[in-house]
């Protein structure tokens, strides 16, 4: 005889259709001015930043850059709902979150311009720097959450990962320990359907990625990642639960990577063009603008004004970025250890000489 | 309490049944004494005691099954024998090893001054082939490194004149001390003759000199001082400890005659004789050659008139006494033949002035003229 030991279900939350029209009756909290206009403005800023970063990269003024195109709603809503004392453990596609949490745009350019001082920005507080190795940030988030818990701080930790990253052991180990220890972590999966060239369908046979949470015994759910209103509800609740000591949540936000993987990638080699075209019809910025228009919260004049304002903001950040003096060669040696060991100090001395020699051009054959 | 747990009596046997105990609680047992017979899936096995001790408790009775790793016997006293590993065996400390460790943090003091000559392996091998001792060479290369040229030149010299004799012992010390003095001191020498014609026959010349130096130091204390050339500081001495240069076959010794200002002549003579004898017998302790405040070199017992003897820091003066000779001197308006002692005073001009040295010389002459 058989019985059912466990049965799970994964909820999907969405309020707006692709064009920004309500899918049903909107909840009371969704009506009114706040916070939608602010969200929209940040999403526009994020997209402008993204566009500018790509053009700086294409003109040799920035290194390889991972675009956020298509994930603006996820980043903006998550960061806006976080409190200053919450901790962000980002991956490498969270520029908008970092911007909203106080990182000057010029510092974001500095980071992607190949300078570690971007991650030294004091406004980042105790947020971690970008995690480049896939999925490692999920475990760091658990470590940060453990630290908060040990200290009795009732704050939340939010970390983000792509759909590809959920195939890694680090993610599985992280949600497992977060469940076992009931850590205050919110795991956001930005399921943008592509891990470089590998589509979501080849990543995992499970119909949702959120259901991996079921195996770890924690709450998992899906949300439309292009729907700022749905994100606001789902992420807000997860952060509240975390702060209240009610444990971790896995949120799979369904989105679409409208960009290449990075500026070093060419998605036309593997991504069907009609799929991309269809995805543009669902993208988050236009969807929210349509909703704001329909609610009378936004109009063409405000749109023009805001587009101009953000453009100026970005341009001024670029100017600031370009005026930053290069770091001294010493910085490559001074932060490895609390105190520079003698062997490394000797190498630092040689590096200073090497730098001078290279600046003067060529080896000194004396 | 210490437990003996049922070991794996074969490969991977999980349990054994107790057939018969051969010991009782309270028994004293020896190592390897049979404790119990057990039956495993393979055989009846006799299990010996792993240690000497008193049995505190037996686990189980005949017919009981014990699993591998479960306690079989408890020994009285001792530490918990929990080996603390899920895998493998750790070797255990013998209780006798319980000293405190001593070790040096970082390099040994002797490592801070490298002893050997610096050279490349190729040159080392060349020196070995040519029979040249590297330790005798002064390297002409960067940082004093011995070069192939240095080795070849030494080999040529050896072939022409034989191998050089390296300095040893006192002679080596002298070479070092003199070189160091030469590098550091700023010496000025002042010469004068003392008319000693009135000295009776048989006067103890050395003792007169010792007395006169004591008198001069008391009259002009500026030369009975130590000088620190690093700190540029003077340390005046009220006590006069006189270094007396003694020539031997092995080399130069300078034993110290203590407190010459406050001792009787006989006492000083006895002391000097004893020091000289000790030097000759090579039994003088190093302490007897340290701490001079001023030095006398009485080379007049051999040959020589004036000299510029070398001051050994931290002293600032040395007096040289030459061969006493008869010579014409002006006495009033007449020329007479008198016995005269030539004197040289070398002083360190960093520590004393020419005037101080001249007044010292004057006091010395006056004392000798008395």
């Amino acid at each position: 005889m058989h019985e059912i030991s466990y049965q799970g279900e994964i909820r999907l939350t969405r309020y707006l259709n692709d064009s920004g029209e309500p899918l049903g009756e909107m909840p009371d909290w969704a009506c009114g001015n706040q916070p939608w206009v602010g969200y929209y403005q940040q999403m526009v800023l994020a997209r402008q930043f993204d566009t500018k970063a790509i053009s700086l990269q294409r003109t040799g003024q920035l290194g390889t850059f991972a675009s956020l195109l298509g994930a603006e709603a996820i980043d903006v809503v998550c960061a806006s709902l976080m409190q200053a004392e919450d901790v962000l453990v980002p991956y490498y596609r969270n520029h908008a979150m970092q911007m909203i949490r106080g990182m000057p745009i010029s510092q974001l350019f500095l980071y992607w311009g190949g300078d570690e001082r971007g991650s030294a920005t004091p406004e980042m507080g105790r947020d971690l720097p970008n995690a480049v190795p896939i999925a490692t940030q999920c475990l760091h988030a658990c470590g940060v959450a453990t630290a908060l818990k040990l200290r009795g701080e009732h704050q939340a930790v939010l970390t983000m990962i792509g759909d590809g990253g959920t195939s890694k052991g680090d993610f599985m180990e992280a949600i497992n320990v977060a469940g076992a220890w009931q850590l205050p972590v919110v795991f956001i999966i930005n399921n943008n359907q592509w891990a470089i060239s590998v589509p979501r369908s080849q990543q995992c046979i499970a119909p949702t990625l959120a259901q991996k949470a079921i195996g770890a015994g924690i709450r998992g759910e899906q949300v439309d990642g292009n729907d700022a209103i749905a994100l606001h509800e789902v992420v807000g609740q997860a952060l509240e639960r975390a702060r209240a000591g009610k444990g971790p949540t896995v949120i799979e936000a369904l989105s679409y990577r409208l960009s290449d993987h990075t500026t070093a990638d060419d998605a036309t080699r593997y991504r069907p063009s009609d799929e991309l075209k269809a995805a543009w019809a669902r993208e988050p910025v236009a969807r929210l603008r349509n909703w704001l228009h329909s609610q009378g919260l936004w109009d063409e004049a405000r749109e023009q004004a805001w587009q101009t304002e953000t453009k100026q903001l970005i341009e001024s950040a670029v100017a600031t970025y370009q005026a930053i003096e290069p770091q001294s060669v010493d910085e490559q040696y001074d932060y490895l250890y609390a105190e520079c060991p003698p062997g490394l100090a000797a190498q630092r001395e040689q590096a200073r000489i090497r730098q001078q020699r290279r600046e003067q051009g060529g080896a000194d054959h004396e | 309490m210490k437990y003996f747990k049922l070991p794996d009596l074969g490969e991977g046997l999980p349990e054994a049944e107790i057939v018969e105990w051969h010991v009782q609680e309270g028994d004293e047992v020896e190592v390897d004494q049979i404790l119990v017979s057990v039956e495993t899936a393979k055989a009846i096995v006799e299990v010996p005691s792993p240690q000497t001790g008193v049995i505190a408790h037996l686990f189980g009775a005949a017919g009981d099954t014990i699993h591998t790793g479960e306690p079989l016997v408890e020994f009285a006293g001792g530490e918990d024998a929990d080996s603390g590993t899920v895998v493998g065996q750790l070797s255990q400390a013998k209780s006798t090893e319980s000293q405190r460790e001593s070790f040096i943090i970082g390099a040994a003091p002797s490592s801070r001054q490298a002893a050997h000559q610096s050279t490349t392996p190729a040159v080392r091998s060349l020196a070995q082939r040519l029979g040249v001792s590297l330790e005798t060479l002064r390297g002409s290369g960067p940082g004093g490194r011995v070069t192939a040229y240095d080795v070849e030149r030494a080999a040529d010299l050896d072939q022409s004149f034989g191998a050089p004799e390296p300095l040893k012992g006192v002679r080596k010390q002298m070479a070092k001390a003199m070189a160091q003095s030469h590098a550091e001191v700023v010496p000025v020498t002042l010469c004068e003759d003392a008319d000693i014609d009135h000295w009776p026959e048989g006067t103890d010349i050395t003792m007169r000199l010792v007395q006169a130096i004591a008198a001069a130091c008391q009259a002009v204390p500026d030369l009975n001082v130590w000088f620190d050339g690093q700190q540029l500081a003077r340390r005046p001495h009220s006590k006069i400890d006189l270094g007396v240069a003694v020539d031997t076959e092995q080399g130069l010794f300078v034993p110290v005659l203590r407190d010459i200002g406050n001792r009787s002549l006989d006492d000083l003579r006895d002391g000097l004789n004893r020091l000289r004898a000790d030097v000759k017998a090579r039994s003088i302790p190093p302490a007897e050659m340290q701490g001079a405040t001023i030095t006398l070199s009485n080379f007049g017992t051999l040959a020589g008139r004036y000299a510029s003897p070398v001051i050994v820091p931290p002293q600032v003066a040395i007096i040289g006494a030459g061969v006493i000779r008869r010579q014409p001197v002006a006495v009033g308006d007449e020329v007479r033949i008198h016995r005269v002692m030539p004197l040289s005073l070398t002083f360190d001009h960093r520590a004393a002035t020419g005037g101080e040295a001249a007044r010292f010389m004057l006091a010395l002459i006056q004392s000798l003229s008395e």
């Binding site: 475990l139 658990c142 052991g169 680090d170 | 493998g88 750790l90």
Partner: protein, 329 residues
């Protein structure tokens, strides 16, 4: 606490207890370290004494232990994590290399990673496969990661305290073959030993023997025998493999002109090669003979029946020293 003769393992326990007591930010975590006190008993009694919030049994996942420690350390906690055996340290490598070792560097000092990863290592205890390797060189190659190996109870106590107080990530490798092999008197006075220096265990003038970890026992035994033959050996315990104190090694070998480097790890690309290379760069003109290595061979660490054949022994050291002493250019 007063003087007490204890083993290296007990010294580790003593230092952990001291660290837990003196700094509320120190937290131990690992598999089986709590109620069970660790499979070797290194954390014995600590959970009972300091509670389950300070001495934490983790799920069985080494990557998680390392990643969690990184996250904790960035927030000012000082995690001291145990990896049960060095053979299981490999899943932690990504977090050590890509995060712990460079957290301060890549944030230019905004965050740091003061964590310790402890792991028993080395052969000679008849352990199963994968439990006996010495892969310290893999770790010592990583800039920003300190690698420390004690070779006696006193150094285990002093170096572990230093590692925990250090603001850099430290991998602390414990030579399990000598965990309980000897006892020495240790005063539990909280005094740390420096992490950036070698230790001269025996002063000598003819040849320098350089080693670390469990092989120090064989090295000292060889030095004793060689003294009877009239060969005066200086014995140096390197102790911290990264950043290594080359100055002490160069000074000693410049004095003696000869050296033998002894390690359990494989020959190829081992720390012995790094030390020999540095001696040839900095002490070449003092060398009377080539630096010689006595190491494990470039094979897989054998399963226990042949591990004694693999491990260098006193005779191997004696032969290498005699040949080095007799060497003539």
């Amino acid at each position: 606490m007063s003087d007490n003769a204890i083993t290296l393992l007990e010294a580790v326990n003593l230092a952990l207890a001291r660290a837990l007591e003196e700094d509320p930010n120190v937290v131990l975590l690992g598999e089986d370290i709590g109620t069970n006190g660790g499979v070797f008993r290194a954390t014995d009694g600590l959970k009972a004494r300091f509670g389950e919030r300070r001495v934490i049994d983790t799920p069985l996942a080494e990557t998680m232990i390392a990643g969690l420690s990184v996250g904790m350390a960035t927030q000012g906690i000082r995690p001291v994590a145990e990896i049960q055996f060095m053979g299981f340290i490999f899943p932690t490598m990504e977090h050590l290399v890509a995060h712990a070792a460079r957290m301060r560097h890549r944030t230019r000092g905004r965050l740091s990673c003061p964590m310790v990863l402890r792991a028993p290592f080395g052969g000679g205890i008849h352990a199963p496969e994968h439990h006996s390797e010495s892969t310290e060189t893999l770790l010592a190659h990583i800039p920003g990661l300190r690698v420390v190996i004690p070779s006696s109870p006193a150094r285990a106590y002093g170096l572990l305290l230093a590692a925990i107080r250090c603001d850099d990530p430290v991998v602390f490798l414990e030579p399990k073959r000598i965990y309980r092999a000897s006892k020495t008197l240790i005063e539990d006075n909280g005094e740390a030993l420096p992490l950036d220096t070698c230790f001269t265990l025996r002063e000598g003038s003819d040849i320098t023997l350089i080693s670390w970890g469990a092989m120090i026992s064989e090295t000292l035994a060889a030095a004793d025998q060689l003294a009877d033959e009239g060969i005066s050996c200086e014995v140096i315990d390197v102790a911290t493999l990264n950043p290594i104190d080359h100055a002490t090694l160069v000074a000693s070998v410049s004095k003696t002109g000869r050296c033998v480097i002894i390690h359990e790890a494989p020959h190829h690309g081992g720390m012995g090669a790094e030390i020999a290379a540095t001696l040839s760069e900095q002490a070449l003109t003092y060398l009377q003979a080539p630096p010689r290595r006595v190491t494990g061979d470039d094979t897989v660490m054998p399963y226990y029946r042949y591990e004694q054949l693999y491990l260098p022994d006193v005779d191997d050291i004696l032969i290498a020293v005699r040949e080095t002493m007799e060497y003539s250019g």
